[in-house]
């Protein structure tokens, strides 16, 4: 079934091959950046979240450096009529914070504080074959599936 779905997606997706090369490259750079920043190591994340301990502010610099590029570049990119390789921009349209957003973000934050992983670094750390990383990633997918069947009807 997966194979059939996959084939259908390839044949019906109108994006040129360059779009796919670019998106795979993006993912690669993202994963490399996460690993270099140290976010793939829970000890590094604890060092940042544990303000009352021996605080390590490194991860603030990850965000500041990332935003240093995205803030100005997004401004110019979104002024273009369309992306380089696809026909339109796919952007969230809502801008009003609601209870669902805040509750979800809070649950995520608690999970982040318990496991010391957010989604990207956990995936990028899979190659370590660490049992906790594999368990975390499996449970994360399960959490998304549970949300899908419980909340998205």
């Amino acid at each position: 079934m997966w194979c059939a779905m996959f084939k259908e997606n390839i044949t019906t997706d109108s994006s040129p091959i360059s779009a796919f090369v670019a998106i795979a490259t993006s993912g690669f750079l993202f994963g490399l950046g996460l690993a270099i920043s140290g976010m793939t190591n829970p000890a590094k994340v604890v060092g940042f979240l544990d303000i009352a301990g021996d605080w390590d502010p490194s991860l603030i610099l990850v965000m500041v450096a990332g935003l240093g590029l995205t803030v100005p570049s997004f401004h110019f990119i979104l002024k273009q009529k369309q992306p380089l390789f696809t026909k339109q921009f796919f952007l969230p349209t809502r801008n009003d914070p609601d209870g669902k957003l805040i509750t979800g973000a809070a649950l995520f934050g608690v999970g982040w504080g318990i496991g010391d992983y957010c989604p990207g670094p956990a995936l990028a750390a899979l190659v370590s074959l660490n049992t906790n990383v594999i368990l975390f990633c499996g449970a994360m997918l399960a959490g998304m599936v549970i949300h899908h069947f419980l909340m998205e009807k």
């Binding site: 000890a43 979240l49 935003l67 696809t86 669902k100 049992t131």
Partner: protein, 137 residues
């Protein structure tokens, strides 16, 4: 602050920022990991392939780092049970809250989205409180 690693943090952040920039510029998409991942499991349009390619690239990025540096350090104090609970909360919470550190923290804030600012503040605060309760209470 003896564990402070400003240079690798800035280099990593610049790579992450470049990746988010490339994703929006070439494909018109937001580089939000939780959204890309869940969208690959429950496709709404015919858009599974780019999601799988992004995730494959992400995992490969970690692998290449591990090979080049000789080690991808994973030091964790969480037990297997805690890892499962954490994963469930992160998976469920990022869907309910429409994003994670990448989608809200790096991309959403760059668009000056009010929702992303509020979400980022909330999960950061919840993370700080949780770690400090777990480790110091």
């Amino acid at each position: 602050m003896e564990n402070f690693t400003p240079i690798s943090a800035i280099m990593g952040g610049l790579l992450i920022g470049s990746a988010a920039m490339l994703t929006l510029w070439t494909n018109g998409r937001i580089a939000g990991i939780s959204g890309i991942l869940s969208g690959a499991m429950f496709p709404k349009q015919q858009d599974t392939l780019w999601r799988l390619l992004f995730v494959a690239g992400l995992i490969l990025g970690g692998a290449v780092y591990a090979i080049a540096s000789g080690d991808l350090e994973v030091i964790t104090q969480a037990s297997p049970v805690m890892s499962v609970i954490a994963g469930l909360l992160v998976g469920f919470g990022t869907r309910m809250g429409s994003g994670c550190t990448s989608g809200h923290g790096i991309c959403g804030i760059a668009r000056f989205s009010q929702r992303s600012l509020v979400a980022t503040g909330t999960f950061m605060l919840a993370g700080f409180i949780t770690v400090n309760v777990v480790r110091h209470v």
